[in-house]
């Protein structure tokens, strides 16, 4: 950030030059202050695995991790997360292509139909398990409620999260 201020108030220029750390890689970009993390990922960095559904924080399709916690990229300004660690669906599998346990469980349990909500579901599920909120089907449903699936694959999504939770937190 060029205009970090301390006790003085400084108005930033119209275009901000920022660095984002995404999946362990540093990206430099010039953006307008209003650009969301979601638009920066999709339109500027070609990381289109993160989906734009409602763009108003109501569907969960744009779920990513910031400093290890799941958040919505559509309501996050890119400038706000300049010095945070951002993880998207592209950064989940190992370098050699080995899928994350949650990705594998979604395949095994057939936990999607059209697939549009799936990256958000998976990013949300990884965090849900890590938070310790996947202890029962009821708890999984409550803590995955922020991810809508218009195909209605919910029973299989719950099964996938349950399976992955068993593997990751036995």
């Amino acid at each position: 950030m060029t205009d970090i201020m301390h006790d003085q108030v400084t108005i930033s220029p119209t275009t901000l030059s920022i660095h984002l750390t995404i999946n362990g890689r540093d990206h430099a970009l010039d953006i307008e202050p209003r650009v969301t993390l979601l638009d920066a990922l999709r339109e500027r960095l070609a990381l289109t695995g993160t989906k734009k559904g409602c763009d108003h924080g109501q569907c969960g399709a744009c779920t990513v991790h910031v400093d290890g916690e799941r958040v919505l990229a559509c309501l996050t300004l890119a400038a706000q997360v300049e010095d945070r660690e951002i993880t998207t669906i592209e950064g989940l599998a190992d370098e050699d292509g080995t899928l994350h346990a949650v990705q594998a469980a979604f395949l095994e349990q057939d936990a999607f139909q059209c697939g549009y909500c799936t990256p958000g579901q998976i990013m949300s599920a990884v965090a849900c398990i890590r938070e310790g909120h996947a202890g029962s089907d009821e708890e999984i449903r409550e803590y995955m409620a922020g991810n809508l699936c218009r195909c209605g694959a919910y029973p299989h999504i719950v099964a996938a999260v349950r399976q992955a939770a068993k593997e990751l937190r036995p």
């Binding site: 108005i11 209003r34 924080g57 309501l75 300004l77 706000q80 922020g146």
Partner: protein, 327 residues
């Protein structure tokens, strides 16, 4: 979304100075501001990012009180072990609000500044008339679809429902909001619309919320938050109740009771008539149900929201009776 200048405040002092700039708005979690900017409702000329200020996200709990920093995340407060044991209604109100992702973003201070979900307020293109957005322009909700609108604290200028959950628990337990030097009851922080629907909070230019403080009490320890809604999760309240209960040594006479309602009023609504009636009475289902009806004194419906007048007292009674069952 109209573009704006972005600046980052690294200290509370800098945030205070910057927030006094014309057209400036504070950005913490962004879940309200970024959303409303996309709707064309919020049009800041400058966005002041306060989310990087150090030391404002602490959760400090003693038997006497909880002091929660303005930048503490909703999810962290909800999962805090001490909050769960000493202020269960606060934890329950938080985890039943929004979604896990939004709770990881949204802060406690920002939560108090959350705006109404009135669909007319949120849609300036189709509904130019809104006294909250444009004072004196009228109210599109009155005469419109009102299923989600308030029945308590309404005026001819505005019937928009206060949408939050946390503040319902806060007003029940006499919490205060810290605005730097100035401290005031959360209950007084929220303003009913009256003839000035655009003024929702008692906050002045240059003031920044730094913390909330909740006094500890027996009623806060034995408390709960019940939220009834159209979906089981991830939905705003049709009616909700934050309730706290303290019984005498006989185990059935009510010594202290707190009742506050959400989803039915234009601001977080403390139901003092219910509390005053029940204090000193036996915890009896019939007495509780009858007393809870008093919460709806002065209620005004606009057709489709009539059901709230029947629903809210039942939610409050259910919460009280649930607490009675837990010894």
């Amino acid at each position: 979304m109209r573009d704006f200048s972005y600046l980052r405040a690294d200290t509370i002092e800098a945030a205070r100075n910057a927030s006094a700039l014309p057209g400036a708005m504070l950005l913490a979690g962004g879940t309200t501001l970024v959303d409303l900017a996309k709707c064309g409702v919020a049009e800041p000329s400058t966005v002041i990012d306060i989310s990087h200020i150090d030391g404002l996200n602490t959760i400090d709990i003693t038997p006497e009180r909880a002091v929660i920093g303005a930048l503490a995340k909703m999810s962290h407060v909800a999962d805090n072990v001490e909050v769960k044991s000493r202020f269960p209604a606060v934890s329950e109100a938080l985890w039943q609000a929004a979604s896990a992702q939004l709770r990881n973003m949204a802060t406690i201070g920002g939560n108090l500044m959350q705006r109404t979900r009135c669909p007319y307020f949120r849609d300036p293109q189709n509904f130019p008339a809104c006294n909250k957005r444009a004072p004196g322009s009228g109210c599109s909700a009155i005469g419109g679809v009102t299923r989600g609108h308030a029945v308590l604290g309404v005026s001819e200028a505005c019937i928009a429902t206060y949408p939050g959950d946390l503040a319902i628990a806060l007003v029940a337990f006499d919490a205060e909001v810290h605005l730097g030097e100035r401290k005031l009851k959360v209950e007084d922080f929220f303003l009913a619309p009256g003839a000035t629907a655009e003024r929702e909070h008692d906050i002045r230019p240059g003031e920044v919320i730094t913390a909330i403080e909740i006094p500890g009490s027996a009623a806060a320890r034995r408390s709960t938050y019940i939220k009834v809604r159209d979906r089981q999760s991830y939905e705003f309240a049709a009616a909700s109740a934050a309730v706290g209960l303290e019984l005498e040594a006989d185990g059935r006479t009510i010594r202290d009771i707190r009742v506050a309602l959400g989803g039915v009023a234009t601001r977080p609504w403390r139901a003092r008539a219910v509390e005053d009636t029940l204090r000193g009475k036996a915890l009896d289902e019939h007495i509780v149900r009858e007393a809870c009806e008093l919460a709806m004194q002065g209620a005004v419906d606009h057709g489709a929201n009539h059901y709230k007048i029947a629903l809210a007292p039942r939610v409050a009674a259910r919460a009280i009776l649930k607490l009675g069952e837990t010894a």
